[in-house]
């Protein structure tokens, strides 16, 4: 297969490689959804299906050796796109001692630099990202990813205010899927667009079609350049579709339009890539993700409660 690149402000984005990554993220979460349905994976699973282009587009313009990312309660795609070992993530979801966090975190509390942490509290990572950015070396940034539900919390505004006041190198990235838990954005706020908070806090802001991986990479790279130069924070609003319900197992009917994988496949086909080859890749990734889940369930040891007390503190008091 040829690898048609697109040029963005961040350099050249290999669309084919982006598709490969997005396909792996999607297949991973499809296997997770199946595991939840058949009862083999426990937990309160918030899947990121529909947000794959944001994760892959963002990571493509970061220096993952030095930049740091803070994730949300839909974190799987961020970790996988940043190159974290899928087996360790799957083992964490399955509650295994060999999981990313030895089974103590679970889906919403994944931790592994360069993605420092996810969170079960909407908006909870935003001030932590600001503090972390105070100590980043010159030229390195922190990216804080959150959903549009976080924008109505006080901590979102406290964090934007601090970041702007202190001119810290943070790119705030809103994955706006139009839903906060089970309610639409219109039911939660009278403010039209998240991007408008940029004006209020005096920081550069942009909005982008979050289903378009090249557009995300382009917009993120443009906003990041001055952030890296020490000009202070910026805000990127990515409009995406939440393709799954709020969490796996919700009883409500949920539908959304705007699949980023379809979008990138259409872009590749328009550049002469064979649709069959892309479909084959998707199939192969699905097969591989199912095999990964089966192998983790069969081979990885259950988390051992005997270690719990020793993990409460880094230095246990007498």
């Amino acid at each position: 297969m040829t690898a048609p690149d697109v040029t963005t402000a961040g350099g050249r984005l290999d669309l084919d490689a982006a598709h490969a990554q997005m396909s792996r993220v999607r297949a991973f979460e499809e296997a997770v959804a199946e595991g939840h349905r058949d009862g083999s994976l426990p937990g309160l699973l918030h899947l990121s299906m529909g947000a794959e282009a944001v994760a892959v587009g963002l990571m493509s313009v970061l220096d993952l050796e030095r930049d740091r990312v803070y994730s949300s309660h839909r974190p799987h795609g961020h970790f996988l796109a940043a190159g974290v070992d899928p087996r360790a993530v799957m083992a964490e979801l399955a509650g295994r001692e060999t999981g990313l966090c030895r089974g103590r975190g679970g889906t919403m509390h994944l931790m592994s630099e360069p993605v420092v942490m996810a969170t079960g509290i909407v908006g909870g990572t935003l001030p932590i990202a600001v503090g972390h950015a105070l100590r980043q070396p010159p030229g390195a940034v922190v990216v804080a990813i959150f959903g549009d539900g976080a924008v109505q919390t006080g901590i979102f505004h406290e964090s934007l205010n601090l970041a702007a006041l202190w001119k810290v190198p943070v790119l705030f990235v809103c994955e706006n899927n139009g839903w906060a838990e089970f309610s639409s954005r219109e039911e939660h706020t009278t403010v039209g667009g998240v991007v408008r908070y940029g004006d209020l806090y005096g920081i550069p802001a942009a909005e982008v079609d979050g289903a378009d991986v090249a557009a995300v990479a382009e917009a993120a790279a443009e906003l990041l350049a001055p952030v890296r130069d020490g000009a202070g924070p910026a805000l990127l609003e990515c409009h995406i579709a939440r393709l799954r319900p709020h969490y796996e197992g919700d009883w409500r009917e949920h539908r959304a339009e705007g699949d980023p994988l379809v979008a990138v496949e259409q872009a590749l086909v328009a550049r002469g890539v064979a649709a069959e080859a892309l479909a084959e890749r998707r199939q192969a990734d699905v097969h591989e993700a199912r095999a990964l889940l089966a192998s983790v369930l069969a081979d990885e040891p259950a988390a051992d409660p005997r270690h719990d007390r020793d993990l409460v503190f880094a230095r246990s008091p007498r």
Binding site: R68, R102, A314, R315
Partner: protein
């Protein structure tokens, strides 16, 4: 610190010394550049610069969160929360992040964050600037809480907190901020309860200003009273209390808290579980009533424990 320092000056000296030793120590908080209302950080910005002594807006959640982020990035932040009452606005960052990240990450990160705060009534400032939340903090797995009662222990506690790899709340009784009193064991371990008075008939366990009141009460009471300064509020260490009960077999717990959810209830249940057969009488728990702290002078005076209350409790536990 110098010999004549009061508690605030001693804590400041500890912070200043730590900042000189370790460039990773940073201070965050409201008005810390000018020194704050109690002069805790007075002069530190001049000596160490405003990049390391950083004023924050009034947003406890965000600046405790920023402290967590600094800690994750390798710093040793010292966050000043002017009154422990304001910690309610930051409880998500303190309870869900600072306290839990080491565990939730399977030991991947530690959070060397120090939170300094003060607590206590007696100034007619009402229920948002006067309560003691010791019992709250003690119920969060992953938090360490120290409560120094003398200048030298304040120096030791701040030093120990800043060197510790875990989140530590240093909670100081406001009534002691300008005290210069020394106590036995001032050169000892801030992480361990200490016996500040030996006695044979009854053990009184206290925190904060009540340690000093208990010592006053011990002089007035007929029985021979042993007084233990708890010092470490979390995680609880009841071993020294049990060791004392081996001799005295009677226990009075005195803490400046509303009766509901009080630290003393945690101490009481831990002692009953492990030391029931050491006791010759039911434990007496002395707290303020289960109400918010009232503002009016007559009401606040009635709310607060006195040395006479401690004497009465000691006499009562001897009769029980």
């Amino acid at each position: 610190m110098s010999r004549n320092d009061n508690l605030v000056q001693a804590a400041r000296a500890a912070l200043d010394d730590a900042m000189r030793r370790d460039p990773a120590v940073h201070v965050l908080g409201e008005d810390v550049v000018s020194g704050g209302p109690f002069a805790l950080t007075k002069g530190l910005a001049d000596r160490h610069g405003v990049a390391r002594v950083r004023n924050t807006p009034i947003c406890e959640g965000a600046f405790i969160g920023a402290g967590v982020g600094l800690a994750l990035a390798g710093a040793r932040p010292f966050v000043d929360i002017m009154f422990n009452d304001f910690m309610t606005a930051a409880s998500d960052q303190l309870f869900n992040n600072a306290a839990k990240l080491h565990f939730m990450g399977g030991g991947r990160y530690s959070v060397p964050l120090t939170v300094w705060t003060i607590a206590g009534a007696g100034t007619r400032w009402g229920a948002h600037h006067s309560q003691h939340l010791d019992g709250w903090f003690a119920q969060v797995a992953g938090l360490k809480v120290l409560s120094p009662t003398t200048p030298r222990m304040a120096y030791a506690s701040v030093t120990a907190a800043l060197e510790d790899p875990d989140p530590v709340v240093v909670l100081v009784d406001r009534a002691l901020l300008y005290d210069r009193v020394a106590l036995p064991g001032d050169d000892g371990d801030p992480w361990a309860p200490r016996t500040v008075r030996h006695g044979d008939d009854v053990t009184v366990v206290a925190t904060g200003r009540l340690v000093h009141l208990a010592l006053e009460a011990a002089e007035q009471a007929r029985p021979s009273v042993e007084v233990i300064d708890l010092q470490r509020i979390a995680p609880l260490d009841v071993e020294p209390i049990l060791a004392s009960l081996e001799r005295t077999s009677r226990l009075v717990l005195v803490h400046d808290e509303a009766a509901c959810g009080a630290l003393s209830a945690l101490v009481e249940s831990a002692v009953y579980e492990r030391g029931f057969w050491l006791l010759d009488a039911p434990i007496r728990r002395l707290t303020s009533p289960a109400t918010p702290v009232p503002a009016a002078a007559t009401l606040e005076d009635a709310y607060m424990l006195t040395a006479d209350d401690v004497v009465a409790a000691v006499e009562a536990v001897m009769a029980g």
